[in-house]
Amino acid sequence: MKPAPFGYARAATLDDVFSLLAEHGDDAKILAGGQSLMATLNMRLSEPEILIDINRIDGLAGIEDTGDTIRIGAMTRHVDVEESDLVATHAPMIAAAMEHIAHPAIRNLGTFGGSIAFADPAAELPACAVALEATMHVAGKDGTRDITATDFFKGLYETALGEGEILTAVSVPKIAAGWKSGFMELARRHGDYAIIGLCAHLQFDGAKFSDTRLVFFNAGDRPVSAPQTAALLNGQSWSDALSEKLSASLKEELDPPDDLNADGPMRKHLAGVLVKRTLAPLAGA
């Protein structure tokens, strides 16, 4: 379908964005990469009065090494994250996730910040951000503030962004010595949204897990952490018995929804499959 008519404003600065947002409020939508927005407009699921195009604002794109973190500008295209040596070295989970985000033509235009701010619970990057304890940098007309990834995602397509605020960058802590990251998702077709996916970030003490974070996507209305199951790993080495214990625990801890691709019980089962397939190789088993 064709979208309903809308106005279009090209912001040159963040101040342009803030004044346009103040003027139009909820009738305005921010146009970043547009790879989700344009589809919803075409399907007339959304009919904003005006799109505020932030593609020409200087300084919103790029990946930099800030010492302890990698700072990824909100307007950085997925393809540039995918090809970044900094990301590959210091945030291997994100590097592994990139090829699963839709298809090349969509990754060429879609943005890192757009995917985070859209907060689709089936998307890869929000879950990566939570698992890696990333920090969201947000700006509004009254200044800037930082929000932790866990606090940022509030529900289905819902974030902690206030009225008139936009996401400007995300800082991802560099992976520390002794830590490993795993990423895996199950989808019927490469590039489709996952039936369920897992971001795992783990610290090892020799062959034993010492600190573990498990975050699932498409398992609820936002990225879903499984701290109880993760705690079972601490002090353990990988074994089949442990794997079964983890699967059983996930069935208690997770409450994934039913949809056309899978029902809740199937997703719970697949969560255990993902944990086994992701963690066993990381543990060298």
């Binding site: 379908m1 064709k2 979208p3 309903a4 008519p5 809308f6 106005g7 279009y8 090209r10 146009l31 547009g34 790879q35 344009m38 589809a39 407009l41 075409n42 399907m43 009065e49 005006i50 799109l51 195009d53 593609n55 393809v79 090829e99 839709a102 298809h103 090349p104 033509a105 969509i106 060429n108 235009l109 077709r189 490469h190 590039g191």
Partner: protein
């Protein structure tokens, strides 16, 4: 509020200035305003890949980009890359391997594969399949398409520099 936007861009090497409705997407702009009907419109929500267009050296979904966003851009369509001869070997291979029947997906397939051959000239069959996973073919199936790409593998990469590429290293 003005729902029109003035844009100026290059299409297949030719400078174009037009006034467009803000809601016009890039592929409709190319088809209806410029008359370049080689880029096809399928699903109109970014799933099928029929509208694949090259913008500033990278392929995009023509249905998921507003024409207004293409202001100042260097746009190449299947007509342009055919004329420059950039993807000639690939087109010949498609014919030889019967890699199309109705041809609806073919322009999008060709532009997608041209980008793969530039980024990874030695792509394996699995990598070729992954790269075209966002391009639907509903008649030939993918086997013949992958066969055709394999025929040209390794020979395409150097050809890409001619038409609107910013260069693989950029």
């Amino acid at each position: 509020m003005d729902k029109n936007v003035d844009i100026s861009l290059t299409v297949n090497g030719e400078k174009i200035t037009k006034r467009v409705e803000a809601r016009t997407n890039l592929v409709d702009f190319l088809r209806y305003e410029i008359g370049l009907t080689g880029s096809h419109v399928g699903c109109e929500h970014g799933v099928c890949g029929a509208c694949t267009i090259r913008v500033d050296g990278r392929i995009v979904r023509g249905c998921l980009m507003a024409a207004a966003q293409a202001d100042g851009a260097d746009v190449w369509t299947i007509e342009g890359v055919t004329e420059t001869g950039e993807i000639r070997a690939l087109q010949d291979a498609f014919v030889e391997r019967n890699a199309l029947q109705c041809g609806f997906c073919t322009p999008g397939m060709l532009l997608t594969i041209a980008e793969l051959m530039e980024r990874k000239p030695d792509a394996s069959r699995d990598e070729i399949r992954e790269y075209i996973s966002g391009n639907y073919c509903r008649c030939t199936g993918y086997q013949a398409i992958v066969d055709a790409v394999e025929m040209t593998r390794g020979t395409m990469g150097k050809m890409g520099a001619s038409a609107g590429r910013k260069g693989a290293s950029a």
